[in-house]
C-alpha cells in the first residue's frame, strides 16, 4: 500500500520513452518497462520480507541484457 504501483509504473513508462530504441533493439522500451516493473515488485517485496533483493535486481538486469543480445544488439 505504501506506494501506488500503477502510478509509479506509469511514471516509469513516461521516462522509458527517453530511451532511444534505435540504438538498442526493437521492442526494447517495453522490455525495459517490464524489467523496471519487476524491480519495483522486488523492492516492494523486500521492504517487508527482506528478500535477496540485490541478487534479484541483478538477475532482472541480466534478463534484460539477454534480451538485448538475443535481439541482435551489437553495442
Amino acid at each position: 500500500m505504501a506506494v501506488n504501483k500503477a502510478q509509479l509504473i506509469e511514471t516509469l513508462r513516461e521516462q522509458v520513452s527517453a530511451i532511444d530504441e534505435s540504438e538498442r533493439i526493437a521492442g526494447y522500451r517495453q522490455e525495459l518497462l517490464v524489467t523496471l516493473a519487476e524491480i519495483v515488485e522486488v523492492e516492494s517485496a523486500n521492504r517487508v520480507r527482506k528478500t535477496s533483493v540485490q541478487q534479484d535486481v541483478t538477475a532482472k538486469c541480466e534478463t534484460l541484457g539477454m534480451a538485448l543480445l538475443d535481439g541482435g544488439w551489437q553495442g
Binding site: 501506488n4 500503477a6 509504473i9 511514471t11 521516462q15 517490464v34 523492492e43 533483493v53 534484460l64 541484457g65
Partner: protein, 718 residues
C-alpha cells in the same frame, strides 16, 4: 487500497465492549464518531492504531508501559484483564503484469490483536500474551495468514501511521512543533514513502551495485585476441594433422606391400626349400656318403665273416661226422677190452718214485722188488707206442664225437644261412646308400645355386624395409597423437575464450541494460521529486486556500497567499509580497490544522495511495466558513474519512454531514452521569457506551444534561 469496515474493542481503556462499522459507501465515505471530550475519541484512535501497528503505536516511554485496561478495573475480582481489538478491513492489492499493466484484487482481512494486562497499585501493569492474528475472510471461513506482522507492514507501513491516523490536536506537528529538522524529516518521510521515492532510490542503489559488479567482471575479462591466434594455430594443426595422417597412410600402405613381399618371399623360399636347399642337400650328401662308407665297411666285415665260416672246423666235423663216430666206436671197443690205454706203467713209475708198491712191498733202492718193477717198466715202454697212439685216437674220437653233437645242435648250415642273410642285408643297405648318395648328388647338381639364399636375402631386406615403415608409421601415429592432443587442448582453450568473448558480449549487454534501468530510475526519481512534489505542493496550496476560504479573486488582500513545499521538504506559507509567515506566530489554530490536513490530503491524492484518514477533532479551533470548508475539502478528497467530532465541532457542519456521512455513531462516557449525561447509563462501571444516534439525534443513552446543543437535536426513535 485499504478501507476500514468494522472494529470491535474489548477492555481497551474505557472501550470495554464497543463495536461499530465504518461507512463503505463510495458516495458517502465519511464516518462520524460523535463524542464529547473524554468520551473515547482519542482512545479509539489509539486502539485502531494499536490493532494495526502494535505497541509502537502507543508512544510509550521506555520502561513505562501505558495502561490499556479500564481504569476502574476490579483487580481483586479479576486480577488479569484480557484486552483485544479487532479490525476488519478491505484490501485491494495490485499485481504488475508482464506488459507493465497491473490488475487489482480485493480481499477482506480481520486483525485480532490481544494481550493480557496485570493491573497493579500504581495504575500501570505488566502486559503479557501479546498476540497478533490476521485472518483472510473468505466465504468458506476465516483463513489465518502466516507472518501477520509482515503482512500488515506490507499493507499498512508503520511509517505512514501519523499520516493516516491524525490527532487533531497534534496535527499541527507537521508544521509547527519540533525543530525544522524534525518537521522536515516527517514531511520528507511521508512524501518519499507515498510517492515511491524511497523505493526508487533503493532500486537505484541496487542497480548501481549491479553495475559495479558488471563493470568489475567486464574489466576482469576484457576483450582478447588470443582466440584469433589460437584459431590460426588450429588451422596449422589441421594441415600438420593431414600431413601426418598421409604419412601414416603411406607407411601403412608400404607396410602392406612389404608384408605381401615378405609373404611372397616366404612362399618362394618354401617352394625353393621344397625343391632343395643346397646346404641342406650338401649336408644330406655328406651324411649319405658316411652312411655308404659305413655300409661298405659292414658289408666287407660280413663278407669276411662269411668266408671264415668255410674255414671253420665245424664244416670239417660236419663232413667227417660218420667217420669220427665209427672210429670212436672202434676205439671204445678197444678200451672196453682193456687194450688201451696202458694202465700199469704210470702206476709202477709212481710206486718206484714213492719206494712202496701198491701191495705194500718196499721198492727201496737196491731191493730186488724195485729191480723187478724197473725191469717191468722198461719192457712195457718198448711195446706201448702203438697202444699210446690208439689211446690218443680214442680220446680224440671221443672229443670230436662230443663236438659233433654240439655242432649238430647249432648247425653250420644255419650259421651260414644267417651269415648269408647278413651279408645280403649289408649289400642291400650299401646299395640303398649308394643310390641315396647318387640321388642327392644328382639333386645337388640340379639345384640352382642362388634360389634360397637370394630369396632369404631379399626377404631380410624386405623385413628391414618393414621395420623402417613400421617406424615411420609409428612416428606418424605419434605425430598424429601429439597434434590431436594439441588440437584438443587448443580447441578447449579457444572455446573457453570464445565463451569468454560471449560472456564479454553478454556482460556488455547486461551493462547496457543496467545503465538503462539506472538511467530510467534516475529520471523517474527526478520526475517524481520535481513533478509529483510540485503537484503535491500545488494541491496542498489549493486545498489549503480552500479550507481557509482565502480570497483568491483578490489575492493581494489575503494575509495568507500561498502554501508550498520546498525542495528541502519544508512546508512554508507566504503572505503578501512573498513574505514567509511563521506558522507558530502568523497562523491561527484553524489555519495550522488546515495546512496539515491539506498536506495529508494532497499527498494521498497525488500519490494515489488510498487509505482511510482517521482524524480526531479536526475541526477544533475552527468555526463558520473555515470549519465548513475544512470538512467539505476533507470529505471530498479522502478515500475514506473517519472523523472523531465533538458536538461543538459538528455545529455549523450538520448539513455537510448530512451530505457526506455514511455512518454516524455517538459515544458517551458513563462517568459523565449525572454531571453531563441526563440519564443513568446502562452500566455501572466506567465505560464508553455506543449508540447509533446521528449528528442531529440524541437518545436516552447520549442525552446531555442541560446542554444548549440539545436544542439542535431531535430524539431518536427507540
Amino acid at each position: 487500497m485499504l478501507k476500514l469496515r468494522r472494529a470491535r474493542f474489548s477492555n481497551f481503556r474505557l472501550l470495554r465492549d464497543v463495536e461499530l462499522s465504518f461507512s463503505a459507501d463510495d458516495k458517502k465515505r465519511l464516518t462520524v464518531i460523535r463524542a464529547e471530550n473524554e468520551s473515547g475519541k482519542t482512545t479509539m484512535l489509539t486502539a485502531l492504531q494499536w490493532a494495526f501497528f502494535g505497541d509502537e503505536a502507543l508512544d510509550e516511554a521506555p520502561g513505562r508501559p501505558t495502561r490499556l485496561y479500564p481504569i476502574d478495573w476490579d483487580a481483586t475480582a479479576q486480577p488479569t484483564v484480557p484486552v483485544s481489538v479487532e479490525v476488519e478491513f478491505d484490501y485491494t492489492s495490485e499485481t504488475t503484469l508482464k506488459d507493465g499493466s497491473s490488475v487489482r484484487s480485493e480481499e477482506t482481512f480481520l486483525i485480532r490483536r490481544s494481550c493480557t494486562e496485570h493491573p497493579n497499585e500504581d495504575g500501570a501493569g505488566a502486559r503479557t500474551n501479546n498476540n497478533l492474528m490476521l485472518y483472510r475472510l473468505e466465504s468458506k471461513g476465516d483463513e489465518p495468514v502466516a507472518n501477520p506482522k509482515v503482512e500488515l507492514e506490507d499493507k499498512f507501513p508503520l511509517g505512514l501511521r501519523e499520516l493516516f491516523f491524525t490527532d487533531g490536536d497534534r496535527a499541527q506537528t507537521w508544521i509547527e512543533v519540533g525543530t525544522q529538522g524534525v518537521k522536515r524529516a516527517r514531511v520528507q518521510n511521508a512524501i518519499r514513502s507515498l510517492l515511491g521515492l524511497d523505493l526508487i532510490e533503493k532500486a537505484q542503489d541496487h542497480v548501481k551495485e549491479t553495475l559495479k559488479s558488471f563493470n568489475r567482471e567486464l574489466k576482469s575479462i576484457g576483450p582478447n585476441t588470443e582466440a584469433g591466434k589460437l584459431g590460426d594455430r588450429l588451422a596449422e594443426i589441421e594441415v600438420e594433422l593431414a600431413e601426418a595422417e598421409k604419412a601414416k597412410g603411406d607407411a601403412t600402405e608400404a607396410l602392406g606391400r612389404i608384408e605381401e613381399q615378405i609373404q611372397d618371399y616366404d612362399n618362394r623360399i618354401g617352394e625353393a626349400l621344397r625343391q632343395g636347399d643346397r646346404d641342406e642337400l650338401q649336408r644330406q650328401v655328406s651324411s649319405a656318403n658316411d652312411q655308404l662308407k659305413s655300409a661298405e665297411r659292414t658289408e666287407v666285415q660280413l663278407q669276411r665273416q662269411h668266408s671264415d665260416l668255410f674255414k671253420d672246423t665245424s664244416l670239417a666235423l660236419g663232413l667227417l661226422a660218420p667217420h669220427v663216430r665209427r672210429a670212436r666206436d672202434l676205439l671204445a671197443g678197444l678200451k672196453a677190452r682193456g687194450t688201451i690205454p696202458q694202465k700199469f706203467l704210470p702206476i709202477l713209475e709212481e710206486a718206484v718214485d714213492q719206494g712202496v708198491c701198491v701191495c705194500g712191498t718196499s721198492l727201496a733202492k737196491g731191493t730186488p722188488t724195485r729191480k723187478h718193477v724197473c725191469d717191468l717198466i722198461d719192457e712195457h715202454k718198448k711195446v706201448d707206442a702203438i697202444v699210446d697212439r690208439l689211446t690218443d685216437l680214442n680220446v680224440l674220437a671221443s672229443r670230436l664225437a662230443a663236438s659233433l653233437d654240439v655242432e649238430e645242435a647249432v648247425g653250420w648250415p644255419q650259421r651260414a644261412r644267417d651269415s648269408f642273410q647278413l651279408v645280403s642285408g649289408a649289400q642291400e643297405t650299401l646299395r640303398t646308400a649308394q643310390e641315396r648318395a647318387k640321388e642327392l648328388e644328382r639333386q645337388l647338381e640340379g639345384l640352382p645355386d642362388t634360389a634360397v639364399a637370394d630369396l632369404t636375402k631379399a626377404k631380410k631386406a624386405a623385413e628391414e624395409q618393414r621395420k623402417i615403415q613400421i617406424r615411420s608409421e609409428r612416428e606418424a601415429e605419434i605425430k598424429i597423437h601429439t597434434v590431436e592432443r594439441e588440437r584438443t587442448e587448443l580447441t578447449k582453450r579457444r572455446d573457453q575464450l570464445l565463451r569468454s568473448e560471449k560472456k564479454y558480449a553478454r556482460l556488455r549487454a547486461n551493462l547496457r541494460a543496467a545503465e538503462d534501468i539506472h538511467g530510467v530510475l534516475a529520471l523517474t526519481f527526478a520526475a517524481i521529486q520535481q513533478g509529483k512534489m510540485r503537484e503535491v505542493s500545488e494541491e496542498m496550496n489549493r486545498l489549503f486556500l480552500g479550507m481557509i476560504v482565502a480570497n483568491t479573486e483578490q489575492a493581494q488582500k489575503a494575509i495568507i497567499q500561498k502554501a508550498e513545499i520546498t525542495d528541502d521538504y519544508d512546508i512554508v506559507v507566504t503572505g503578501p509580497q512573498g513574505r514567509r509567515l511563521d506558522p507558530d506566530r502568523d497562523l491561527n489554530g484553524a489555519s495550522r490544522r488546515a495546512i496539515t490536513l491539506s498536506f495529508i490530503l494532497a499527498l494521498t491524492n497525488v500519490s494515489g495511495v488510498e487509505a482511510p484518514n482517521v482524524i480526531d477533532t479536526p475541526l477544533g479551533m475552527t468555526s463558520g466558513l473555515v470549519r465548513q470548508a475544512i470538512l467539505r475539502t476533507a470529505a471530498e478528497n479522502a478515500t475514506q474519512l473517519v472523523l472523531f467530532l465533538t458536538p461543538a465541532e459538528i455545529r455549523d457542519v450538520e448539513d455537510l454531514l448530512d451530505e457526506y456521512a455514511g455512518a454516524v455513531w455517538t459515544m458517551s462516557n458513563t462517568a459523565h452521569y449525572p454531571t453531563m449525561l441526563a440519564n443513568e447509563p446502562p452500566a455501572a462501571d466506567l465505560r464508553v457506551v455506543l449508540c447509533q444516534c446521528g449528528h442531529r439525534e440524541f437518545c436516552s443513552v447520549c442525552e446531555r444534561a442541560g446542554d444548549e446543543l440539545n436544542d439542535r437535536l431531535v430524539r431518536r426513535p427507540a
